[in-house]
């Protein structure tokens, strides 16, 4: 594009942004130009990584292993499962050899929503009829069908559940059910049953920021639904890396070898 023409377009963009009633992303003056980048709130595509406050001591960084600081409201069954969990991580750690974390000794998938607690990025793709989230961790996929279909009642229980979604204004609402019961909800052993029902609300709040509000409902494990909130920042220069868990490189082997270099 010729620089003169580009200059005209920049001037027009600035003028339009000043007068547009839809311009609502003002932040600090220094960030105004970045936040003012135009974006389509129905376009969630890109590579996103969770952003957390960095100025907290380790013990307050609950997001490394669970969704909230507070305990979720467990049923007696749920509490019993949680009490039996021996996580290798978080507030009540066990020695690695004693951990019964399903991920630790083998290549069991973390499932949904646990995958959100593993600190790796995700890539969101729009394809016809679907919005697909590719998680770098364990190459997990979260396909959300937005073509109007209902849940597939014929499916067997799934690690990632069966997800359908629709737009509610500028919020993508994804409804997921039909989970198996082989995963933990988080990394410390909060449980779920096959009655788990997740609702995720995705909202691109500005060009560089996405929020995901998750409602976790499971009448067998929890006395009432509870919520989690995740913040993501766009990482346009990042690429989703390859990440396979295979037997020679389960967490157990990483810990034994003392390295995380091999993939």
């Amino acid at each position: 594009m010729r620089s003169f023409l580009r200059g005209i377009l920049v001037v027009l963009a600035v003028i339009l942004s000043c007068f547009s009633t839809a311009f609502a992303q003002t932040k600090k003056p220094a960030e105004a130009s970045a936040a003012a980048s135009s974006f389509d709130p129905h376009d969630l595509s890109g590579i996103w990584n969770q952003s957390h406050p960095t100025n907290l001591p380790v013990v307050q960084r609950y997001w490394n292993y669970e969704f909230n600081k507070e305990e979720p409201p467990m049923t007696p069954w749920g509490q019993a499962q949680f009490d039996a969990a021996k996580s290798s991580f978080g507030r009540h750690t066990y020695p690695l050899a004693e951990s019964n974390d399903p991920l630790y000794h083998s290549c069991t998938p973390p499932g949904l929503p646990r995958v959100y607690l593993h600190p790796f990025p995700m890539e969101i793709l729009h394809v016809p009829g679907e919005i697909i989230i590719l998680f770098e961790y364990d190459s997990l996929r979260h396909p959300i069908f937005v073509d109007g279909r209902g849940h597939d009642e014929a499916l067997e229980p799934l690690w990632m559940g069966d997800s359908i979604g629709h737009w509610d204004g500028d919020t993508l609402v994804a409804d997921t059910k039909n989970f198996n019961d082989k995963t933990w909800v988080d990394r410390v052993g909060h449980p779920h049953s096959d009655q788990l029902h997740l609702v995720e609300r995705f909202k691109r709040v500005d060009h560089d920021h996405l929020t995901v509000d998750i409602t976790i409902e499971d009448a067998k494990a929890y006395t009432k639904p509870w919520a989690a909130h995740l913040d993501f920042v766009l990482r346009p220069a990042w690429t989703l890396s390859e990440q396979f868990c295979e037997d020679e490189h389960s967490f157990e082997d990483f810990d034994k070898s003392g390295t995380v270099s091999a993939k």
């Binding site: 998938p109 069908f145 690429t239 270099s261």
Partner: protein, 264 residues
């Protein structure tokens, strides 16, 4: 919506292994009008499944376990690797307990291009900067960057390699390097080294058909580059299913359970 199930896939594999019976995938005349349906040759998106002719003898169905009917031109090193391989599949199959196929006893990834030989579909997702093949089997992902970037030489060796691509007319040319050497090239034990270099020419020939012509080059394993032709057909009412290999569901465990469909 028709769902392609893991259990069905196992049954499919069993049909290939043990039975000359064939599932009919031939194209009846009624589909000719479908082939004339307009399409954008630069749009590769959809769910695709291999489109080899089915009503053939088991021995003719080389595509169930390797890329070409004939033997590729192996170096001495390549031949030695091949001679040491004990596949559980194909005309030189060993008993399961003796196989040294890296994917048999554990959940080692199939890698690329072996993933093409596993009889499950893939979905092509296309964005402005990428063409991604999402294979149903075990979350394998062939991510072809089409945004003009060069290969990333800082990456360690990868199971699926590092792929960049560009369009030449209506053909997507994908160039993949930087493989690890932990996979077999195919299901019968043809080898490759870390010098493997795969060039694919991917073309949507009509609305329902896609072809991928691979050139396989590996001077350590092969005396010269050789080619393979993979045809695919669009499965517009299929959805990619979940198909994890985790320890309880390795091929070995499935066989131990007497090939009962693996419910996950």
């Amino acid at each position: 919506m028709k769902l392609y199930r893991w259990g069905a896939a196992i049954a499919f594999v069993m049909v290939f292994r043990f039975s000359p019976a064939a599932s009919a995938q031939t194209k009846p005349p009624a589909e000719a009008s479908k082939a004339a349906t307009s399409f954008d040759p630069h749009d590769l998106s959809g769910v695709w499944f291999d489109d080899h002719p089915r009503p053939m003898t088991v021995m003719q169905r080389y595509w169930a376990y390797k890329f070409t009917e004939g033997e590729p031109p192996m170096t001495a090193w390549g031949q030695a690797q091949f001679d040491a391989a004990k596949p559980s599949f194909g005309p030189h199959a060993f008993p399961l307990a003796e196989t040294n196929d890296p994917v048999y006893h554990t959940c080692t990834p199939l890698g690329f291009p072996r993933i093409f030989l596993y009889p499950l579909p893939f979905q092509i997702a296309q964005t402005p900067g990428e063409v991604i093949l999402l294979f149903e089997y075990d979350s394998h992902r062939h991510q072809i960057y089409t945004d003009g970037r060069a290969h990333d030489t800082s990456l360690g060796p990868l199971w699926m390699g590092d792929s960049v691509g560009h369009w030449e007319g209506d053909t997507l040319v994908a160039d993949t390097v930087n493989f690890n050497d932990k996979t077999w090239l195919d299901r019968t034990g043809h080898p490759h080294s870390v010098s493997l270099h795969v060039v694919e020419r991917i073309r949507r020939v009509d609305h329902d058909h896609l072809v991928d012509d691979l050139t396989i080059e590996d001077p350590k394993a092969y005396t010269k580059p050789w080619t393979a032709h993979l045809p695919f057909i669009l499965k517009s009412n299929w959805t990619i299913a979940e198909a994890f290999c985790e320890d309880e569901q390795s091929f070995e465990a499935i066989d131990d359970k007497a090939a009962a469909p693996a419910k996950k």
